[in-house]
Every structure is written in C-alpha cells, then in structure tokens.
C-alpha cells in the first residue's frame, strides 16, 4: 500500500509538471497584452515596451517558463502582474474560502445524494423514486448560474432570509458566515447531486437483488439492517469513484458559483486573472486547482480500497 501511495504521488508530480507546461503554453497564446491592461490604452509604445521589459515578457518562452517553474520549486508562485503583489498569498486566501465552500458542498452532495439514492432504490418505480429523479435531474440539466440567480431572487430578494452573497464582514461570527455559505452551497449541491444519487440508486438496486441480501432477508433480519448494514456498504463502492469525479465538477462549478455569489474564492480569482491577462495569477491558480483534482482522485482510490477489502493495490 505504501509503495502504491508513493507511486501515485510520483505520478501526481509528473502530471503537475505536464500540466504546468500546458498551462504555460495556453496562457502564452491568450489574445491580448497584459502590458496594455496595466498601463491602459493611453500609454505610448515606449511605456508599453518598458512594462513588457520589466515583466520579462520579451524573454524567450522557455526562459519565462523556467523562471516560473523554478520559482514554484522554491515555493514562489511569482508576482501578480496587474496587482503587483505576490501571487501565493492571494491564492492562499482564495483557496481557504473555496475550500470551505467546496468541503461543505461535498459533504452535502455525499450525504443527501446517497440518502436520496437509497430512498429511490428502496422505493423504486414508486412516486418517491420518480420525485427524486425529477428533482436531481432538474439540478443537473440547467447550469448553476441559473439556479444561483433563482436562489438569490427567492431567498435574498423576496424572502429576505439569506444574504445574496459574499462571505460576511471580516469581524463576522461563524453563524453569519454560515448564512453566507448556504445559498452557494445549495446551488453547488443541487447541480451535482444527480451523479451521486443516480449511481447510488442503480448500484443499490443491483445489490438488493443479490444473493447475500436475499439470504440476509431470509434469516429474518429487519429491513433496516439489511439495507444499511449489508447492502449499502457494497453499493457505495461505485459511488466513491463518482464522488472523486464530482470533485472535478465541483471545482468547475465553483468558478461559476463564486462569480454569481460574489464569493471571493479561487474561481473568482481565476476569472479576475483571465480578464486581465495576469499570467502568473492564471498559472498559479490553475496549477493549484489541478493539484487539488489529482489529490482528490488519489484519495478516492484509497477509499475505494478501504471499503472493498478485495481490492489490494500493489
């Protein structure tokens, strides 16, 4: 197992190196010029040239890449070109905010998704099952910015129950912060829940048909024990994989949801950076997102092994 983990970690490093080259390549061909963003359209060509010189934009691409990559090895993600401050603290602040939103959403997706999947499986082809599938498909079939705005209009504008966005004042207590998190979390949860609940449902249905469940029932075990004690653990295995995939979706969703809810996380930082062609900020943010995704996949695989003793990685 240790060898496996080490090997996977090494692979992640490899993936991140390849990703860094890709990110760097793509940001090089982005249209527009950060120097113009910094000095504005009034600037004379000499001023633009001076800014390009200062930012090292005229160096060959490989020199620029090496400057960036070697900085990362030293733990330095570079300097935001537009804001003229180090990238790392900007990303760190945004990451903490995003992590809170992502973890909360992930927990909701997992708990509610699995619960709905089990309910739908146990009551399959009945009204509850249809209601669950309608509810979950509704979430996935319309983009998250739409649900975000619907929730804002409903809960903030008309009912005045919840704040429309942001993270609360800097001196806000946890209760207030939690209130700010409810709508973005609900939006993300609603758009992601279908994956988990549908998969849990089908895998649960299959498990409930299996021989060992039939045996358990024949032994006279109460239905609750059969479902939660015997069937669920096995039925959850495929769900774990889909949850790992959901982490990817979650990160994509965060970019949109954070914009709608003015939530200062990685997603908004990335959009800010892209709008302004702030290359180090774009590169740093995407690299961190890629790293999170890779690690989430590793964790999913390890959990898979943990839940299914038949699988032994070597």
């Amino acid at each position: 197992m240790t060898v496996y983990i080490l090997r996977r970690l090494l692979a992640i490093v490899g993936i991140l190196i390849v990703t860094s080259v890709l990110i760097f390549g793509v940001t090089q061909v982005l249209p527009g010029n950060v120097a113009y963003v910094i000095v504005g359209q009034f600037a004379t060509p000499e001023v633009v040239a001076a800014v390009e010189q200062r930012l090292g934009l005229n160096d060959p691409v490989y020199v620029q890449y090496w400057r960036w990559a070697s900085g990362i090895l030293r733990g330095d993600l570079g300097q935001s070109m537009v804001m003229d401050r180090p990238v790392a603290p900007l990303i760190w602040d945004a990451l903490r905010a995003s992590a809170l939103l992502a973890v909360l959403s992930f927990i909701c997706v997992t708990i509610i998704g699995i619960a709905l999947g089990v309910i739908a499986a146990v009551r399959r082809n009945k009204l509850t099952d249809h209601a669950v599938s309608m509810f979950t498909y509704l979430g996935i079939s319309v983009p998250e910015f739409f649900w975000g705005i619907v929730l804002i209009i409903l809960f903030a504008r008309y009912l005045h129950w919840l704040p429309s966005g942001g993270i609360g004042d800097s001196d806000a207590d946890w209760g207030t912060r939690l209130k700010h998190l409810i709508l973005p979390t609900a939006t993300l949860t609603f758009t992601l829940i279908a994956h988990v609940s549908r998969l849990t449902r089908s895998s649960m249905i299959e498990t409930l048909r299996s021989n060992y469940v039939r045996n358990a029932r024949a032994k006279g075990l109460p239905e609750r024990v059969v479902i939660y004690g015997h069937a669920l653990r096995n039925a959850l295995l495929p769900t774990i994989t889909v949850l790992a995939i959901d982490v990817g979706w979650l990160i994509g969703g965060i970019v949109v949801v954070e914009s709608v809810f003015a939530y200062p996380g990685l997603g908004r930082l990335l959009i800010f950076a892209i709008e302004r062609h702030d290359l180090p900020l774009i590169q740093g943010t995407i690299l961190i997102i890629a790293a999170i995704y890779a690690v989430a996949n590793l964790i999913a695989d390890l959990l898979y092994a943990f839940f299914n003793p038949k699988i032994r990685y070597a």
Binding site: Q41, A94, I152, R157, G166, S170, T176, V260, F261
Partner: protein, 498 residues
Amino acid sequence: MKRLFGWILAAGLVATMAAGAAQAEGTLRVAVPSNVNTLDPAKTKIGEEYIINNLVFSGLTESDPKGQVKPDLAESWTASDDLKTWTFKLRDGVKFHDGRPLEAEDVKATIERVMDKATASVARVNFSIVEAIETPDKNTVVFKLTQPYAGFAEILADRQVRIVPRDKLDTIASKPIGTGPFKLDLFQPGDRFELSKNADYYNPDIPKLDKILIRIIPERAAQFAALENGEIDLIWDVPPETISQYKDNPNVEMDSIATSTWDGVILNANQKPFDDQRVRKAVSLALDRQGLVDIALFGAGTPTHTMIPPTHPYYNSDLPITKPDIAQAKALLAEAGYADGFEIPLYVPSGRPTRERLGLGVAEMLKPIGIRAEIQRVPWDKFVKDIEGKAAFFIDGFYSRPTIDTSIYPWYHSTGSWNTTLWNYSNPEMDKVLDAARAAKTDEERAALYKKFQEVAEASPAGIIPYVLNHTNAFSPKVKNFHSHPMMWLDLREVTVE
C-alpha cells in the same frame, strides 16, 4: 441521522440570531461590480479605483458637481498675467493618515511622480506643460509652465493627481495613505474594502459616516437583491438597461446626473468616404440624437452637440441639437458623389453594451440615406489594437476628463493626441478657437469661446457625439444627503445613514 438534523437545526438557529446583530452606526455599505487593479492613485484607470482615490486622497483642487474648480488641499491660488506661473497656498494643519503634516514637498513629489514616464500614469499627458515645480516654503508650491494655460488649477483636480506622502511612495499601492476624508483599513482583493472616518480631516465637520464598506459584487441581480435585502445601502453606477427595475421599487431611491462621458460615432477623415466634409455632415443629419439615447442608453443620457454636457455652464443652449433631415442628408451625399449611398463595415467593441446598441441604432438610422452599415463586433483587445485609429467607421467612447480643455482639445485640435488617433479632423477655425480658449484670461471669455467651439463642431462635424451618459446610483431611503457626482466617483463626505 437524527443527530445530523439536530446539528443543522442548531446551525440555522445560530445563523438567524447572528443576523439580528445590529450594524455599526453610521456605516454605509456600497456595492461595485468590478475588482480594482491598483490602489496607487497615479496608476488608476477604472471607476472603482477612482472611488477609492477620492475617498482616501485629496487633490490640490477639486471639481464640483457643476464642473467648476474649487479649493481642496490648496486654500487659494494665483496665476501670473502670462498664465505661465501658478502659485498654490496649502491649507494649514492638514495631516496624512499616518499623522505627518502635509508639506509642499509632498505636492512636488506627487506631481513629479505623475510626470515620470516610468509611472505610466494616464494623467501624465496633461502635465507635459510643467517645466518646473518650486517649493519656496512648506505651504507654497509654484508651477512654472512652458505655455500659458488657463485651466491649470483644474487639471490638479484630476483623478490620478491625488497628493501622496513623499516618504511612502514605495508602499502607496499596498497601504494607501492620504489626507482624504476616509482611511483605508482593509482591502481584500476581489471581495471588499473597509474604510473608516479620518478624524483629522481638514474640515472638522465632515465626514459624517463612521465607516464605509465597499463590496465587489459582479452579478447585477445579486447587487439588487443585496440592496433589497438590506445587506448594502448603495449600488454604484447602475447600468442603463437595469434602471427600470429599480424605478418601480418604492424602497429604492435613484439619483442621476449627466456626465461628460460619451460614446461616439468615429468617422475617419483620412479614409474614403469620410474625407469629404459633406459625407460627415450627411451622417450627422441622418441621426436622431434622442432616438440614439433611447436605443443605446434606454433613455439614461442627454443629447449633446459635443462632449460638453447640457449641465455645464459652457454648454451652448442657443444652439439646437441637430434634427434628422433625410432630404438634406441625401442631397449632401449626392453632391459628394454618393447618390446611391455606399456599403461600409461599422465596427463596435463587443462587451460594451451601450456602444453595441449605439452601433445598431446608427446602422438603422443610416439606411434611409442609402448608407448600408454592416455591424462587426470586435473583442476589446483586438478593438484597441486593430480598429481604434485604423478603421474608417467605428463606435468608441471615452470617460469624462478633468477640465473642459482636456475633454476637448485632444479630440478636436488638429494636433490633438486623440484627434490624430481617431478622426483626423482638421479645421483651422477650430484650432483658432481652441487655442484662444486655452489662453483666455476670464471665465466669460472662455465660456464664449467654448460656445463658439460647439457651433463650429456642429457646422463641420468631425464625427458624431450623440449624447453624454448619465451616471446613476441606486440607494436605500436610509441614505441621506447623497448626490451622484459627474466624475462618477462617490463623494460621501456629507452622507449619513439613518
């Protein structure tokens, strides 16, 4: 499962209780749509940055809502007879937010920094006429100019020329310290600004607010919800297309003011067919100004002759706004050799909604005189690089400038920097009027010359400036004494929140 529900319930309860906590008294919460790039006043370029500039810093002079120059850090000033030497007396007892007194050397360092190419300040161009800055004593600053310039006190009210402490130049972008009515306590990039009252502000009666919280909320629907929800008190710069939904709401107040910010139809006289004065006049005659205000701005603007807004004392109210005259326009086109009209691409920058709509309106209004304009939307980056200054026919737009001279001269004088980039207009009479206005000694003389300028611009158009935009703010009835400013920044010195 029961335990989980218990937790959720408890969390909800805590959240509801926290929401009841009272706001600090005298706190104004503002929503703006975009993040800022810099806090260094000399380098600012966008509306949100100007808001911070104006709250944290003061200028030597300031521009009042009527566009007239008023004392700010300079208590008084005098100009020599030849308008080439300007002496400013600083107000006594002004302190920076760190407690150090303001001195003439700070003013000198500030302006020299703006003039320095390396700073890349957009205001630099206005100060190329400054030859030397002298500080005979701690309270006096003398500017020596290379040419007479009557509007010099006005350009010192510009957004980028806010006075900064000479010993904090290196950290001004991260820790802005000024002499303005509010101190910046916190900037969370992408999220918020928190400002508090400057108790040492030179006018002890203001500001009235204790705190200002500025939140960056890009989504307009979310801004509106936050206003209705009581999370914020004021939405800065409501876009014209959303004004109607605020108007119907009894719990929202609106305040609008005409600015000198304009959108325009650029006709490049260096290229056919706009090299012919008659073609430019024909285009001008075909366009219905009020119609364009309705199409592009949903009515939230004011038809004009040039960028001088009708609210300005120099506006020529005796000069009627051109009314569409299709017959005359067609006759002029025929005279110029385009009896059947012509076909031409009309470039509009995408992502600038008012300008996109203006383009569509113009294209429709030109059809009756036979000009078939084919709209081409171009992304902003490409627009700045490939269209602005190169194409024959395009829609552009510009923020108001600090003075009438800086608003006009670069666009209409044959040597003007924007004229030579955009429409290449050359009219000796126009040059004469603009040069004379620069050297005019009295306000009456200047007013007469700028009124003449509007006549000349109407008679022989460079291009078309159909309107100036209104700047609109929406706020809660709890907010008192708030007035929108034509420079689009927030003057919150007199504002209170009930």
